[in-house]
């Protein structure tokens, strides 16, 4: 009788097939540290670079990529958070504000990424009438521009043009005629604009003569002349001009000196103030003196 069980096969010895020569060499190569590093890092880099390079080699693909990038960039920049809706100008008068507004973009709403605030500020400050400006993106998507205008302190006759000039001597625009700004003193002469402070100080001291002052002239780049109406001229010294002016004012107050027919009051030498009268006045004076002399002689 046969037993109906499977035959128990003797276990075959453990199989350990020999690696092929190529497999053996491959394994040894892969265990070489330098080569392994190359495979792990170098090969992926090369593959990526090759793929990217071959794709970008076609101009169509490059254009497509650029278009995509630009689209994404625009989409991001034009999100409502970044949009500038309005312009808020503060400071300065209406004329100045309209001039400044002409320099700023007007196609609102505009993305804040397209606004170069620093350049804007420099452009605005390049205007003669603006002393300084602050430009910032304010709340509610407003472009806030705060202007500090130049305050003209005098008129400066620069050759044929009449310029407004502020207390620092910086030109702040032009005017067509003297009559446009009668409230400001007129200064002239070489180097006048560099010593604007002196001129303004003298003008401020003029006091009772203020209404009569037509202008101040810098003479020889060292001293001032004050021109009054009726072509009267006050020659002030280079040094201590305010004191000389005070003396003139005091003389005027005491003796109505300037109401008389005086052409020039020369205060250049404090120890020897000099008056020059008009030719007619001088002639009349001389005549009077001759009569007196003659009368005296007759006596």
């Amino acid at each position: 009788m046969r037993q109906m069980t499977a035959l128990r096969r003797p276990q075959s010895p453990l199989r350990d097939p020999a690696p092929s020569r190529l497999g053996y060499r491959y394994q040894r190569l892969m265990l070489t540290p330098g080569f392994r590093l190359f495979v792990r890092i170098g090969v992926p880099l090369i593959v990526i670079a090759a793929l990217a390079g071959s794709w970008l080699a076609k101009p169509d693909n490059r254009a497509l990529l650029e278009g995509q990038v630009a689209q994404v960039k625009q989409n991001f920049q034009e999100r409502p958070q970044f949009m500038v809706q309005s312009l808020l100008l503060t400071g300065g008068d209406a004329a100045l504000q309209s001039r400044v507004a002409a320099l700023l973009p007007d196609n609102f709403p505009v993305s804040s990424f397209q606004l170069d605030l620093e350049t804007m500020r420099q452009t605005i400050e390049a205007l003669a009438a603006v002393r300084s400006a602050r430009v910032r993106l304010g709340e509610g998507g407003a472009l806030e521009v705060a202007l500090i205008p130049r305050v003209p302190a005098a008129l400066w006759r620069d050759g044929q043009t009449l310029r407004l000039i502020d207390a620092d001597g910086v030109p702040a625009g032009t005017v067509d005629a003297r009559s446009d700004r009668l409230d400001l003193p007129l200064i002239a002469g070489d180097g006048a604009e560099q010593n604007i402070a002196e001129a303004l100080a003298l003008y401020a001291r003029a006091g009772p003569l203020r209404d009569r002052v037509r202008g101040l002239v810098r003479i020889g780049q060292r001293r001032w002349d004050i021109i009054l109406d009726r072509d009267q001229r006050l020659l002030l010294p280079g040094a201590d001009a305010p004191a000389a002016l005070d003396r003139i004012i005091a003389l005027n107050a005491a003796q109505d000196m300037l109401e008389r027919d005086v052409a020039i009051v020369d205060m250049r030498k404090a120890s020897r103030p000099t008056l020059r009268m008009n030719a007619e006045a001088a002639a009349a004076m001389r005549r009077v003196n001759e009569i007196q002399i003659t009368n005296g002689a007759n006596n």
């Binding site: 046969r2 035959l7 128990r8 096969r9 003797p10 276990q11 075959s12 010895p13 453990l14 350990d16 097939p17 020999a18 690696p19 020569r21 497999g23 053996y24 060499r25 394994q27 040894r28 265990l31 070489t32």
Partner: protein, 444 residues
């Protein structure tokens, strides 16, 4: 001699380079298995934090990081017989060990078990006329050894200076600096078949590996399995391998005799295979599972299925009692041991102060072998297992790996051999610059 001397020197240089790189493989090319261990040299203290123990007699300077064995192909009697097959087997072992170590190995130190080793005792003498012994004198006295005519097709594998004697004082390990009149030395030289070495060298080269050392398997398994006092007092290590049985006799920590019996475990297997009419693979399995050399009454009743694959019921259901198996194995084991006895007798082993015999190798795992061996070889017989080295996997600590483990010790700190000493001055080329430098060094 010069050629071999140079190639041994070259291998020592290679070993130094390998140690500098920190990774070296040892390869035990045996008849039944090829074992490959990958060692990493990192200095003695690297693994202290992991292992928690300090340096172990200098062996902790390396660690086994990869180990693999494979069934040996194309090797018979410990000699390469089929080059391609052996090359493939070496490749298998090296690849598996490399994979485990995850490091590429370029240098390999190999052991070969067969190749008909033959030992020679040499002695040389040098008159030094009351001067101090210098290194040059030692080189010279070794060069003065009378080298016997060991045959044309043979190569020197080991040449250890075993003993130095100065006048009437013998047993000096290092006579340098001592003063005497006559310096003599005893050397042990081991020669093997040149073709076996060349074949192995060629196989290893075909695997893209550099040979950084070559050792006799009997010698290195003695290094691994003899304890220190046995090496000192005199002992023989019998490495019962697959195709050959190596014998090495140690004294004063030097190998003084080596021989090999061209019989081993494979012959036991083939006896079983022939006696029981079964395939060799089954015979090997039965031998390892049920084998023994001492039969008892119990063994008559223990029946072993020896099976078969023919489809014939009667043939496939054969059984054999364990006593029968032992009856087949024992005569062959006895024959091997008697042959070992004869070789030891021929070597004069009985004159040694201690006659310890240590059985190791895969064949020493046969149950009852120590009892049988003590009947044939003498009372002082023990079974030896190799030294424990760091990182060795549990599968590779058995006695079958004693020569592989011994090779790791050989790789880590080899004993000085002839070619590790200075070249004697008269062997330099006559117009060598080195010779001139040496003359200056000696005279000033």
């Amino acid at each position: 001699m010069g050629d071999l001397y140079d190639s041994q020197r070259a291998m020592r240089q290679m070993r130094k380079a390998a140690l500098q790189r920190g990774v070296v493989a040892v390869l035990d090319v045996g008849t039944s298995k090829i074992a490959c261990l990958v060692l990493r040299f990192d200095g003695p203290e690297r693994f202290r934090s992991i292992d928690g123990i300090g340096s172990m007699a200098g062996q902790s300077q390396f660690r086994v990081i990869g180990a693999a064995t494979t069934r040996s192909r194309g090797v018979r009697f410990g000699e390469v017989e089929a080059m391609q097959e052996t090359e493939r087997a070496i490749r298998t072992a090296v690849q598996a060990a490399q994979k485990m170590a995850n490091v590429r190995v370029d240098h390999v130190i190999a052991a070969l078990s067969g190749a008909r080793p033959r030992s020679y005792g040499l002695d040389g003498a040098l008159d030094i006329a009351g001067a101090m012994v210098t290194e040059q004198d030692i080189s010279q006295v070794m060069a003065n050894c009378e080298v016997p005519d060991y045959g044309a097709g043979r190569e020197v594998l080991h040449a250890h200076p075993v003993n130095f004697a100065l006048d009437h004082r013998s047993g000096l390990a290092d006579p340098r600096g001592q003063i005497g009149n006559r310096l003599t030395t005893d050397m042990h030289m081991l020669t093997v078949d040149a073709t076996a070495i060349q074949n192995l060298f060629y196989c290893i080269k075909r695997c893209d590996l550099e040979l950084a050392g070559l050792a006799s398997s009997a010698y290195v398994s003695g290094m691994a399995s003899l304890v220190e006092d046995e090496q000192e007092l005199g002992a023989a290590c019998v490495d019962l391998g697959g195709g050959s049985t190596g014998i090495s006799v140690f004294m004063k920590k030097h190998m003084i005799y080596t021989d090999a019996v061209r019989m081993g475990g494979d012959h036991v297997t083939s006896d079983i295979s022939m006696g029981l009419q079964i395939p060799a693979a089954t015979a090997e399995r039965i031998k390892t599972f049920y084998g023994g050399v001492v039969a008892t009454g119990m063994d008559d009743r223990e029946m072993i299925d020896i099976g078969g694959d023919t489809g014939d019921w009667e043939h496939d259901k054969r059984t054999v009692s364990r006593a029968e198996l032992i009856g087949i194995m024992r005569p062959r084991v006895e024959e091997i041991l008697e042959e070992v006895r004869a070789r030891l007798d021929a070597a004069g082993f009985e004159h040694l102060p201690s006659q310890q015999i240590v059985l190791t190798g895969g064949g020493s795992q046969i149950p009852g072998l120590d009892g049988l061996a003590s009947k044939i070889l003498g009372q002082q017989v023990r079974l030896g297992r190799p030294l424990r080295v760091q990182g060795l996997p549990q599968a590779a600590v058995g006695p079958a790996f004693s020569s592989a483990v011994g090779l790791t010790l050989f790789a880590a700190n080899p004993q000085d051999e002839w070619w590790d000493f200075e070249i004697p001055a008269d062997r330099y080329p006559a117009r060598s610059l080195k010779r001139a430098v040496k003359w200056f060094k000696d005279n000033w």
